[in-house]
Amino acid sequence: MDLASAKMIGAGLACIALVGAGIGIGNVFSALINSVARNPAAQGQVQPFAFLGFALAEATGLFGLAIAFLILFVF
């Protein structure tokens, strides 16, 4: 296998990390909707944590995406 095709495969594999980020973000917002539906008064208290959780979950996926970019464009 030559280097160019190996790079493409590697970048594709690195993007699998986004599966986890997708599950995580979905979880965060489903939990937010659940809790707000049960107790609408709590929305103000819960929402900042939901966005914090969203940012943290998204970041883990972006680590994988950053690796894919590094493989494709830097090396």
Binding site: E58, L62, A66, F69, F73
Partner: protein
């Protein structure tokens, strides 16, 4: 037809004013320029906003007051009363990252926070500062942070190294999170921009995606500044209150 897409070109550092002290390169670069702009803008916002000190705030004053109260609230709820003295530090961090992120969204400008060295320097300052605060406040007692309470002794053998490790990788996770978000976001914008430029009339679809992506990036820019600041608060709270 194929326009070569070079999405990482936007992150190159250019020397605006070449400057050398001995063998050390201290040139004034485009990154340094954007940092200067961010600092000047923040100073202008706060200085001009609080100049009149009106009882009923105007637009500038309420913007300055809102940012002040937002961060003051965050420090108060996450660190408690002991965190009052660290408010200026958290406020500076938050405003600097927020302005650096937003300035990077202007087309053809430069995103300072997409350089790992910048975010790592910020995170290292937080890490070293928090450790020093903890040691000064609690002395030798600070090591209790790594020993969870109410845990049977055999489990401690496992938990203490984990706690120690998770403490030591904090500067890395903190810096890589901000850096990766900015890098990935701006690279994605450039890639879709390249698609739009290279496929002619059909390019309207990637252009539409790009517009939505810019909206997402605005959200991410504000959110990452918030996350950086709130994690700094949580680390400070660990050092001050020893959870």
């Amino acid at each position: 037809m194929a326009i070569e897409i070079r999405p990482l070109e936007q992150f190159t550092i250019e020397r605006l004013i070449p400057l050398h002290i001995g063998s050390v390169d201290v040139s004034y670069t485009n990154a340094a320029f954007l940092m200067t702009v961010a600092v000047v803008l923040i100073t202008a916002l706060i200085m001009l906003g609080t100049r009149k000190r009106a009882l009923v705030p105007g637009r500038w004053q309420s913007l300055a007051e809102m940012s002040y109260e937002f961060v003051a609230d965050m420090v108060e709820t996450n660190v408690g009363h002991g965190g009052r003295e660290f408010f200026p530090f958290v406020f500076t961090l938050f405003m600097f990252i927020l302005f650096a992120n937003f300035l990077g969204l202007i087309p053809y400008s430069y995103t300072v926070t997409s350089q790992i060295i910048v975010t790592f320097a910020l995170a290292a300052v937080v890490f070293i500062g928090v450790t020093i605060v903890g040691i000064v406040k609690h002395g030798f007692h600070f090591l209790r942070l790594f020993v969870p309470q109410g845990v049977p002794a055999p489990l401690l053998l496992l938990l203490v190294p984990i706690e120690l490790l998770s403490y030591c990788i904090r500067p890395f996770t903190l810096s890589i999170r901000l850096f990766a978000n900015m890098l990935a976001g701006h690279t994605m914008l450039a890639i879709f921009g390249g698609f739009a430029a290279s496929i002619g009339l059909l390019g309207i679809f990637p252009l539409g995606i790009n517009i939505l992506l810019v909206a997402l990036e605005v959200l991410v820019a504000a959110l990452q500044a918030y996350v950086f600041a709130i994690l700094t608060c949580l680390y400070l709270s660990d050092a001050i209150n020893l959870h």
